[in-house]
Subunit: 227 residues, 4 copies
Amino acid sequence: MKKPTKLTTRSAPSAGAAAAALGAVPASNRTARAQERRAAIVDAAMEEFISRGFAATRLDDIAKRAGVAKGTIYLHFKDKESMFEELVRIVIVPVVARLTALPPPTGSVRDLIEAFAGNFLKEVIGTRRGDLVRLIVAEGPRFPAVADFYYREVVSRGIAAMRALIELGIARGEIREKDLARYPQIVVAPAMIAVIWQSLFERHAPLDAQEMLRVHLDLIFGERRTT
Amino acid sequence: MKKPTKLTTRSAPSAGAAAAALGAVPASNRTARAQERRAAIVDAAMEEFISRGFAATRLDDIAKRAGVAKGTIYLHFKDKESMFEELVRIVIVPVVARLTALPPPTGSVRDLIEAFAGNFLKEVIGTRRGDLVRLIVAEGPRFPAVADFYYREVVSRGIAAMRALIELGIARGEIREKDLARYPQIVVAPAMIAVIWQSLFERHAPLDAQEMLRVHLDLIFGERRTT
Amino acid sequence: MKKPTKLTTRSAPSAGAAAAALGAVPASNRTARAQERRAAIVDAAMEEFISRGFAATRLDDIAKRAGVAKGTIYLHFKDKESMFEELVRIVIVPVVARLTALPPPTGSVRDLIEAFAGNFLKEVIGTRRGDLVRLIVAEGPRFPAVADFYYREVVSRGIAAMRALIELGIARGEIREKDLARYPQIVVAPAMIAVIWQSLFERHAPLDAQEMLRVHLDLIFGERRTT
Amino acid sequence: MKKPTKLTTRSAPSAGAAAAALGAVPASNRTARAQERRAAIVDAAMEEFISRGFAATRLDDIAKRAGVAKGTIYLHFKDKESMFEELVRIVIVPVVARLTALPPPTGSVRDLIEAFAGNFLKEVIGTRRGDLVRLIVAEGPRFPAVADFYYREVVSRGIAAMRALIELGIARGEIREKDLARYPQIVVAPAMIAVIWQSLFERHAPLDAQEMLRVHLDLIFGERRTT
DNA sequence: TATGAATGAGGCTTCATTCAT
DNA sequence: TATGAATGAAGCCTCATTCAT
């Protein structure tokens, strides 16, 4: 992070106290407003970057969508490039946090992976977050910092976690293919493909991602016996 | 840059040869030169678009790299957009043509798919053609014409061909998972992931795509018995 | 150049005054400045378009002359074409407004027309407004919108007004030639010719427009008896 | 004239003789062809300059319309500017020549002027030549050479001739208004206005130029008694 | 802090002119 | 002579960034 968030800084005593006295927000109005604006900018920027790519996105449009003046953006971000880089962090960090704080692994490995797939299906594929993945694929080469961050925070962790699951699956005899632990990418691949497919080819040929992932899990774990 | 480029070379050997191969006649020098130039522009544009994306690529740079004047580009392409769209066609069409004219399918389905994977490995993953795939993923949403073309010429055909192979594999008993024929994407997914991985994360964690694809095929066909 | 121009002046007195006259409020300095700039651009553009014609005029030169940056022009006008079209409106509207609010028609028809000719002489012939007329003649065919506007606001009204005067003159017995009311253009023609003559042939043979118009009126009304 | 016409120069002896032997043209084929091309270029250029103005006319379009290659134009004209200047000369000279060699002035002055007006009506108003006049009005200020030439060859002569006629008319008692001789422009003005009107406002309000000119002559000569 | 008018570098594109064939 | 591909200067316009209010 290049810029510390202003959350706990500079709470204007007078104005802040007044606001507190009125019983609205605990934090100073000043700061609260600023945070709202910042969030609005982040949301708007996300939207624009996703639908136009980095280079084709205009700060004017971001400002308009966020309901702020163009100059305001520069109160929160150094410039367009670092805005983009911070953006990816800002959006991804909470997602990673949530995934890291996963429920304790109980039940079969297939159940675990299925649960994970279910989440992914609901929260990523076909959503704005899915488009973010495509955006990173698109801009990664021109933004090494973004690629680095994404690899470090998401990919490497995801791969590691998946590898652990696979090894567990192998140990428990749920997974037959022992080499799979060396390439957790294989397990994740169809989910990624689904993300990309929705962005590019949905209108050519809709893809039932859920069913595809099920078939893929059947391939890995063997067909599920009807319980 | 993975491949050395023809920065200021005037007679691009490969392109020149290709052009010469097309016309039976010695071809008036005039025309031959024009073809060379066009090829040089195509190569240069490819390179630039891949490494910077559509919007961030400057025609000036393409011209410089191709060793022609800026205006010359406009003798061959209407504008930047249609250059990009034509480019994708120009590069992809011969690839599709080559793949369409495949050798007669003999041997086991696994052998066939393995052969195909081998080709893909050699000709796409980690090459400029692979980068082109990433470029299409990146720019597709802003270039419907490109996405359409790519779906029509590459994706739909690839999926159809793969489906046929899978069905053959099922019929012959090589493939157990019957639902696989409904989602040929699953078979292709790791190859696509490999393409993207090379573009984005190679320097973070090199991926042995060949071995990964082998493991994936083992997953589908069962482990190969040592011959 | 017939009139000295406000090359790099920042506060164009006349324009500024005009702007101030419009808004009752002291008008935030911001807005006032913007209006000044706009006026400066309009003046500069007028000057350039008149002396070079539409196609040969460079926005760079307009900006330089107006003392603003190139981009500033685009805060006020969509593009070069619509700037030109708006310009004609901007300059002509107040003139028409002034003429429409004419003094009550008293005295002889000849006096009226003479008064009108006097105004025309002072305010149009040999002035920048006269050059504008020539500019419209020059660019009209390529700017139908301009020709339309000019016909609607100036020509058709002028012809109608002149026809009314002629009919009055005929009714009062001041004008003998009855068919003149069918072609008010005849009455106006020498004035127009004077405008064009000043633009093109002044240096070859100066034309005493005032005297010419007098002779023309003598032709129409008969020679004036020495009062 | 900056470039001597190639009419009598360089008649390739051999080819020329051969052509002559065949009995076709007396001049060499070479030269004849060149002249044809030159004429085609002149026609095409006229057309384009008239409909687009100098700056907006592209040599490409002239070449296309003339059926020659772009380079060929440069074999006949030094550059775009001098082409334009020569063009005006080329087109106007024969017209002037024809008018200079007028029929011997017989009959009344009114008849003479009426005859002239008739010619003007037929040959100028509403024709390409009329548009040429508008073109000169449009481009004159930027092409002093053109304005000079036009003044010298057409305007001054026309004015002089008209003045002579007016004086004759006054001497013969046909024209009452004696001062008219000082401003022959007055006599010509409606004809010029008609030219401009046709170019600009024909679609808004068609003008019966013939009738207007008749009324104008009535104004000058008094209404014609029915013969 | 917030604004948005102003800036001007930089990109795309056009087109007069050249020159090898 | 004639061609037209090639050139590159120059123009229009956009948009990230600044800064006075």
